[in-house]
């Protein structure tokens, strides 16, 4: 039906098609378990809708808790994908070819749950559309809604564009869901002109998406920083949140890649070198994160204005100290001691570091949101906030549903960009050779 010469599937990449064409019982079991969590989350949420937010552990003055923590955390994780993938693409990092897709999917999927966390937190979610009908543009929450919408749209486009040649490949194989792939492939046949347009579009999106991604987490931080509350009202929050977001994002990406590699037997595609390089990036982010955390807390401590000190002390030696120091261990001590040793920057080593970082960064968000609220200036504190079972189940449900969506994606679309791998095999060697020889002194080549 289409001339298949241009997009001839290479026989060597057969393993990349397997997840979409063969389904093992293991998949059904995983999906069933995840679905259980989803159903539980829905049940608990409907109970919360029926009864009111009283079923949470929130009180006066801790009006925001786990839900808002999740919001900041999930939006942070979303920086794994689009941003990392865009930066690596722009830098022509050749080792990116097998990880970009997996990264971009994280962004799109996890953003849904970031936005969902805010909806769950609303006392009147049925009125959420008031944000569109009666927006107050002075409110950072409205800025947030705008930037997250733009980011989600941009990320979907940026995920979809590099997917088109793969969809054409799947269509031409003609095995499963051909009509579906044919529709989505938009008639791509891999002609020179189509290739040129596609590559241009991907390049443009890669550049556009970077400032959008940076703006998103900056605006998330402004939800806090724009208020006059002690230890929220800080100019460092924008970049601090962005660094934290990229940090937790890479960690989530490493965990996702390791699972994909293991389950779908992609050791040939996701090699130690990918984990080593991501591990190095992670190490840089860990150091940056520590630098920001240190600068923020030392400035507060040295200035020692009483209302900020009360909150700082509740973090470092008060009721929130266990969480604070766990965070420091998880985000700095463990990852840096693992990742600074080349021997340990293996798949296992980076995954262990990433697991610690994911937990640590969730705690970091919690430590930012809750203590500032728990010690208001005038009203006496009412003890510490413990999340209720409802909040915990909804959090677990969100996490499980995110994983479920991700798993389903891998069953329908190739989780490793097949055409980019093939292109890399065919062209990249030569390109890199040319690029490197251009750096060297010697006679200029006339193109």
């Amino acid at each position: 039906m289409y001339p298949s010469a241009a997009v001839e599937p290479a026989m060597t990449d057969e393993v990349l098609f397997e997840p979409m064409e063969r389904t093992t019982p293991r998949f059904y079991i995983t999906a069933a378990i995840l679905l259980c969590f989803t159903m539980m989350m829905l049940g608990v949420y409907f109970r919360q809708l029926w009864k009111g937010l009283g079923v949470t552990g929130l009180t006066i003055p801790v009006y925001w808790g786990v839900y808002i923590t999740n919001f900041v955390f999930f939006v942070g994780i979303s920086h794994a994908g689009t941003l990392i993938s865009a930066i690596l693409r722009i830098c022509h990092a050749e080792w990116r070819r097998s990880i970009t897709r997996a990264a971009e999917v994280i962004t799109v999927m996890v953003l849904l749950f970031g936005a969902g966390s805010v909806i769950v937190d609303l006392g009147h979610p049925d009125r959420a559309l008031n944000m569109i009908f009666h927006p107050n543009f002075r409110s950072p929450l409205v800025w947030d809604m705008c930037s997250i919408t733009v980011y989600l749209t941009g990320s979907v486009v940026y995920l979809f564009l590099p997917l088109i040649p793969d969809l054409a490949l799947l269509r031409d194989r003609g095995k499963k869901r051909v009509w579906f792939y044919r529709t989505l492939a938009l008639g791509y046949t891999g002609t020179e002109r189509q290739k040129r347009i596609l590559e241009k579009a991907i390049a443009v999106m890669a550049i556009v998406v970077i400032p959008i991604a940076v703006s998103v987490h900056t605006v998330v931080s402004w939800v806090f920083a724009m208020t006059v509350q002690p230890m929220w009202h800080s100019t460092i929050f924008g970049p601090y949140f962005v660094v934290g977001a990229i940090f937790s994002g890479i960690a989530a990406l490493i965990i996702a890649l390791a699972i994909i590699r293991n389950v779908y037997h992609l050791e040939q595609y996701l090699k130690d070198i990918q984990f080593n390089n991501l591990g190095l990036l992670l190490l840089v982010m860990a150091l940056l994160w520590f630098y920001f955390t240190f600068a923020e807390h030392l400035t507060t401590f040295y200035g020692s204005s009483p209302e900020e000190m009360r909150i700082l002390m509740s973090k470092i030696s008060g009721p929130y100290a266990p969480l604070f120091w766990t965070m420091v261990v998880c985000c700095f001590i463990v990852p840096v001691s693992i990742l600074s040793q080349p021997r340990l920057r293996s798949v296992k080593g980076t995954v262990v570091a990433s697991a610690f970082i994911t937990v640590g960064m969730w705690l970091e968000r919690f430590i930012i949101v809750v203590p500032s609220l728990s010690q208001p200036r005038l009203v006496q504190s009412q003890g510490i906030y413990y999340p209720s079972i409802t909040e915990i189940l909804i959090t677990l449900g969100f996490l499980a549903t995110f994983i479920l969506f991700y798993v389903l994606f891998t069953k329908i679309f190739p989780i490793i960009s097949i055409w980019e791998i093939q292109e890399g095999r065919e062209k990249a060697l030569e390109e890199v050779h040319e690029r490197v020889s251009a750096y060297m002194p010697g006679p200029e080549k006339v193109a």
């Binding site: 937190d121 009147h124 008031n130």
Partner: protein, 234 residues
Amino acid sequence: MARWGMVIDLDKCTACQACVVACQTENNVAFMKPSEAQMGRSIYWIKLTAFQEGKYPESKTRFLPLPCQHCDNPPCIKVCPVDATNITPDGIVRQIFARCIGCRYCTTACPYTVRYFNWYKPDWPEPMTEAQNHDVSMRPKGVVEKCTLCHHRLQKARETAIAEKRPLAPGEYIPACVESCPPKAMFFGDLEDPNSEVSKLSRSPRAFRLLEELGTKPKVIYLSEVERSGSNVS
């Protein structure tokens, strides 16, 4: 246009909480189950706050009735994503219950912690429904509420004045807390009018506003205790 303000003389305040009770009945502030109250979820549009000063045995507890400060520059209305809270031309910070989405951004942004959230559907024991004030709307679950300076009383007084074709007289509009105060420690009126009692008191050397350094410009003004301010001027 008037600029409504309140003066609370801490020297006269006996911390009897009559203002709190008057406010609860006037504004249909819902009852809390004991378990909820224990969690610290009680709603008080005006609340008596205690401050500990010094350490035992020289310690002293001071009390401060704390309503919404009705700031001229309120941090809460800026952050509301749906314009559900705003400030009237005469300076009253209002809450629109029917528009509030319950995101609680205003409650976290308010430095005075005087905004309250309805965690559940308000609980009204059977006989108490008889005591409800029909001038004040009931709140559904999941919205934020706060002191309105008994805005409904202003509306009523204004309507009467218009019907009688005369301007609003001073003292015609007074919130329930001020009206009920047994030692007459609370004053209410137009801060714009230089001859009003509140305006004069607000210029007293004892006058101070809470967290003035934040630039919120509160319209609730406190008169400090004489023993503390070291001055005898009232």
